[in-house]
C-alpha cells in the first residue's frame, strides 16, 4: 500500500506542470496573494525550508517557543515594512539559511535558546521583506497580513512534516535537504560577493555577449531577461 502511495506521489510530481506563478497570484486577491508570497520569493522560501527543517529536526520541545517567536518576528517585520524604509533582507536570509542548512546536515546539537533566536530573526527578515509592490491603501495591509499568515502556515506545515519523519531514512532525507539548502545558499552568497564587480557589466548590456555560444554541457545559453530585472537585482543588494 505504501509503495503504491509513494508511486502515486512520485507520478504526480513527475507529470505535474510548471506552475504559472504570476497568473495565479493575480486571480487570488490581496490576502491570498500575501499568503503565497513566501513561496514565490526564493530567498524567503529557502529560509522557511531551512528553519522548518531545523525546528522539525529538533523536536516538539523546541518547536513551540521557536514557532511562537517566529510569528512575533514576522509581525514585527511586517509592521516595520508597513511603516516603510526597510532595507532588503534577501542576503541576510540566505546567509542564515546556509548556516541553518549546515546545522541540519550535521545534526549539530544547538541550545534551544539559539533555535528560538534564529527563528525570531528569520521571521523578522521575512516580514521585513514582504512589502507588496504596486499595492497601496488598505489592500497593502491586507496583503501584508496575508504574508504573515502564509509564512506561519507554511512553516508549521513543514515543521509538522519533518517532525513526523520518524523513520531512519526519513531523518537522513531531512539532513540531505539541509545540505541542499546549504549548497544553494553558498552559491548565491558567492554570486552576491562576486556581483559587485560583475553585475554592472552583466546588466549594462541588453545583449548576451555569449549569444550564439554553447554552454559547457552543449546547451544554448538562456536568453537574458531584459524586461524584469527586479529578481536578479534583489539578490545583489
Amino acid at each position: 500500500m505504501r509503495v503504491a502511495q509513494a508511486a502515486a506521489a512520485c507520478a504526480l510530481a513527475a507529470f505535474s506542470q510548471v506552475a504559472a506563478a504570476h497568473g495565479s497570484v493575480r486571480g487570488l486577491g490581496n490576502f491570498f496573494s500575501g499568503v503565497v508570497h513566501p513561496l514565490f520569493e526564493p530567498a524567503q522560501l529557502i529560509a522557511l525550508v531551512a528553519l522548518g527543517l531545523l525546528i522539525g529536526q529538533r523536536g516538539l520541545a523546541s518547536t513551540q517557543p521557536a514557532a511562537a517567536c517566529f510569528a512575533v518576528g514576522v509581525a514585527l517585520g511586517l509592521v516595520a515594512t508597513g511603516i516603510g524604509g526597510v532595507p532588503a533582507t534577501d542576503t541576510v536570509l540566505l546567509i542564515t539559511a546556509g548556516l541553518i542548512g549546515f546545522v541540519v546536515l550535521t545534526a549539530m546539537p544547538v541550545p534551544r535558546q539559539v533555535t528560538v533566536v534564529v527563528a525570531s530573526a528569520v521571521g523578522l527578515f521575512i516580514g521585513a521583506g514582504s512589502a507588496p509592490e504596486s499595492v497601496n491603501g488598505s489592500a497593502r495591509y491586507v496583503t501584508l497580513f496575508g504574508s504573515g499568515v502564509g509564512a506561519c502556515v507554511w512553516l508549521l506545515n513543514l515543521v509538522g512534516l519533518v517532525q513526523g519523519a520518524g523513520r531512519p531514512w526519513m531523518r537522513i532525507g531531512v539532513r540531505v535537504a539541509g545540505s541542499w539548502v546549504a549548497a544553494c545558499a553558498t552559491l548565491v552568497i558567492a554570486l552576491w560577493i562576486a556581483g559587485t564587480s560583475r553585475v554592472p557589466a552583466s546588466l549594462a548590456t541588453t545583449t548576451d555577449p555569449r549569444q550564439g555560444a554553447t554552454l559547457s554541457n552543449g546547451s544554448a545559453p538562456m536568453p537574458k531577461d531584459t524586461t524584469d530585472l527586479s529578481v536578479p537585482l534583489r539578490v545583489w543588494r
Binding site: 526564493p42 545540505s179 552559491l187 554570486l191
Partner: protein
C-alpha cells in the same frame, strides 16, 4: 526485499519517464529554476558522473549511501563559488570526463575504500562539476532559483543512481551495477577523447 525492489523500480521508471521541461522559455524565478534544473540533465557528462556517485554510495552501503550524495552538492557549491568568482580552474572538462571514468571504474571494480577516501574522491570531482555550473550562474535570469534547480536536479540524479545501485542486494543485480559502472567509465573515456 520485495518492497525495496518495487520502490527502486518505480523511482527508476519515473525518472526515465519524466518529460523534458521547457527550459529557456520562462523568465524570473520559474525560468531560473528550469534552466538550473536542466543544466545538469542536458549534459551527459554531468549525468553519468552523478548517477555513478549514487551507484557507488548504494554499492558501499550505509552510511556512504547518503554521505556521498551529500558531499557532492556541498563541495560542488564550493566549486560553483570558484566559478562564480571567476577563479580559473584548469582542465574543467577533462576533470568532468575523468570523474565519469574514475567513479565508473570504482563501481565496476567494486572498490570499497574507507569512507573518507571515497568522500575525498567524490568531493574532488564535484569541484569540477560545480565550477562548470557556477560559470553559467551569473547569466541566469534568477541566480537563486537557478542554483536551487541545479542542486535539486543533482540530487535527483544521485537518487536515480542509488535506486539502480540498490539492486546489488541480488547476485544478478551486483553484476548489473558493475556493468553499469563499466559503461559509465567507457562513456567517460569517450568524453575525454572527444569521441562523444
Amino acid at each position: 526485499m520485495k518492497r525495496t525492489a518495487r520502490l527502486s523500480l518505480t523511482i527508476l521508471v519515473l525518472s526515465i519517464a519524466c518529460g523534458a521541461a521547457s527550459a529557456h522559455t520562462a523568465n524570473g524565478a520559474i525560468g531560473g529554476f528550469t534552466a538550473g534544473f536542466m543544466h545538469p540533465i542536458l549534459g551527459w557528462d554531468h549525468v553519468i558522473a552523478m548517477v555513478a556517485v549514487g551507484m557507488w554510495g548504494a554499492f558501499l552501503g550505509r552510511p556512504a549511501i547518503w554521505i556521498l550524495p551529500v558531499v557532492f552538492p556541498l563541495v560542488m557549491a564550493v566549486g560553483g563559488a570558484l566559478g562564480v568568482a571567476g577563479v580559473p580552474l584548469p582542465a574543467v572538462e577533462t576533470g568532468i570526463a575523468m570523474s565519469a571514468i574514475v567513479l565508473g571504474a570504482m563501481v565496476a571494480l567494486a572498490a570499497r575504500p574507507p569512507l573518507w577516501v571515497a568522500a575525498v574522491i567524490v568531493g574532488t570531482f564535484a569541484i569540477f562539476h560545480g565550477h562548470a555550473h557556477g560559470a553559467e550562474l551569473p547569466e541566469a535570469a534568477d541566480p537563486l532559483a537557478y542554483s536551487l534547480g541545479f542542486v535539486f536536479a543533482t540530487g535527483l540524479l544521485h537518487l536515480g543512481g542509488i535506486a539502480f545501485g540498490l539492486v546489488v542486494k541480488w547476485p544478478a543485480g551486483k553484476v548489473a551495477v558493475r556493468v553499469g559502472g563499466a559503461a559509465i567509465a567507457t562513456a567517460g573515456v569517450a568524453f575525454l577523447t572527444g569521441v562523444a
